[in-house]
Amino acid sequence: MAAKTYLTHEDISKWLEDMSSQATVLVPASVDRAVKFVPYDAQTQIVLEHQATAPPKEAVFPQTETLLKYRYKKDTEHPETQPLEVKEDVPEDKVVVFGARPCGTRGFVIYDRVFTSDTITDPYYKARRANTAFITIACDQVENTCFCHWVGSHPADSEGSDIMLFPVQGGYLAQSVTDKGDQLIKQAGGTKASGEQQKEADTIQARVREELGEAPDISDVPASLLQIFDNLDFWNDVSAKCISCGACTYLCPTCYCFNITDEAYGLTGKRIRTWDNCMSYLFTLEGSGHNPRMTKAHRLRNRVGHKFSYYPELHEGVFACCGCGRCIKHCPMAVDIREIALRAKETADDEQSVSA
């Protein structure tokens, strides 16, 4: 592994300045009492001390994006006709995401298997993904809601990142993990990290890993969830507190359900994609009035099922969860997906021992 580069906080500021002249650099900053990723400028107050309220998912999967633009043309020679013109609107902007945590960045690896698979390629996602680089900070502290180690990750996981930054006294040790990262790190300056600094970074990582504690084995949760699918008592119980607000879905780095709607302005308009929320009754309501997920119990069952059973089934056992804990931390009713996964396993085990 290549030697790491030591970057002081001052080096980082210069680097951000430099990068922001060539790309949109998104950094976590305080906006309306939340920490969100916003375009960097010299005045931006960057918040790197703790996990951002929202993950950087908007960098590649914006809350609202234009898919198509259309125009009905008025042909005055043939006023009875109204020819239609439709154009794609595929983005080309270069973006650098600076300062996300591994659990935020890794969400895109989960998305990749869905949006750029062998059978379907989403051109909007693909273009943004190819044009975005991730400079991710390894964690130096643990929060109560952190559980990345449950889902096959860890506080210094570089999966999905181009450069990893390891916090040390006075700055960071930077390490490139991709070709894209190699290009960016060249602009960063800095000095070669000393053995002492490397040791310091390693000590921090070891401490953080220890603070996380042991992870329970959740490898049989996918099967458990299918087994208790029809146990509506269970789902009613675990969803009782839920108010279907959808905060968990909007703040989740792996939630990608979306809606497609049209916005018209006279004869022109656009087709837009927006984040959608599977906790909403309307999400699956059919024209006939029938709704396959009619109560919040059905909807929570689908959300937990998707992350801990269906996605892993389709993608070689990988959970569609980064363990960032945002859904737990920001849920107004403190619904805890960890607890649901564990209780699902317990309930399935109990059912089995009863029937055995």
Partner: protein, 274 residues
Amino acid sequence: MNNPYLPDIATIKEIIQETPNIKTFRVVLNDEKRMQEFDFKPGQVGQLSVFGVGESTFVINSPPTRKEYLQFSVMQVGEVTNRLHSLQEGDQIGVRAPLGNSFPLESMKGKEILFVGGGIGMAPLRTLLLTMLDKRDEFGDITVIYGARSPQDLCYTYEFDMWQSLGANLVLTVDREFPDWDGRVGFVPTVLTEEAPKPANKVAITCGPPIMIKFVLKGLKDLQFADDQIITTLEKRMKCGVGLCGRCNIGTHYVCVDGPVFTYAQLKALPSEL
């Protein structure tokens, strides 16, 4: 790169008022070459767009054996369908098709075919029925049990004679007595039970309102049809049509990609979330 969200622009060539709330649209893609090369299998669906209002999913109910136009039947229930109903011949719409899987036509060859349809549920059956009638000698007996609430709620009435002349047995039913109605009276599942088709060498294909499908499945099971002899096509709310947006999944299966056509055996293996 092929953009799965980009529709073809198509022109409405003909509109048929089927019932008080169902219209059939016959459309042709504006790009002649795309229209000529348009290839699909019976059972596949398409997304129709009215730009400025949105998209909705409908089965292509014309058969691949007759490709002078693509036909969609639309019941007026929501925003997009309301707007579609207000369109005129000559108007432009978007078409994203074909999407999803299709009826297992090859495996039905040489078999007797039983269609059981209700209301607008006849639309997906029509594409398969006409495909079979256009290749009549490849299939055994073809029987269609089709019902609706009232005679005026039956679709495709103007071509019933054509279906029969091409070799289909047609059993029509409405929910209750109506003046001048000389077909059967009773719910579709009841008529199915009365007709009592034998399952030997037969495939049953059913589509209709969920409650009808439920009792038709029960009726077919009572008649000793095996689970893999029963085929249905599902409807779910869909947006993207390409397995991404997260609405139409039943467990790991996306109705827009892995469906809409499923055998009863396949459905039983899925989580119960219809």
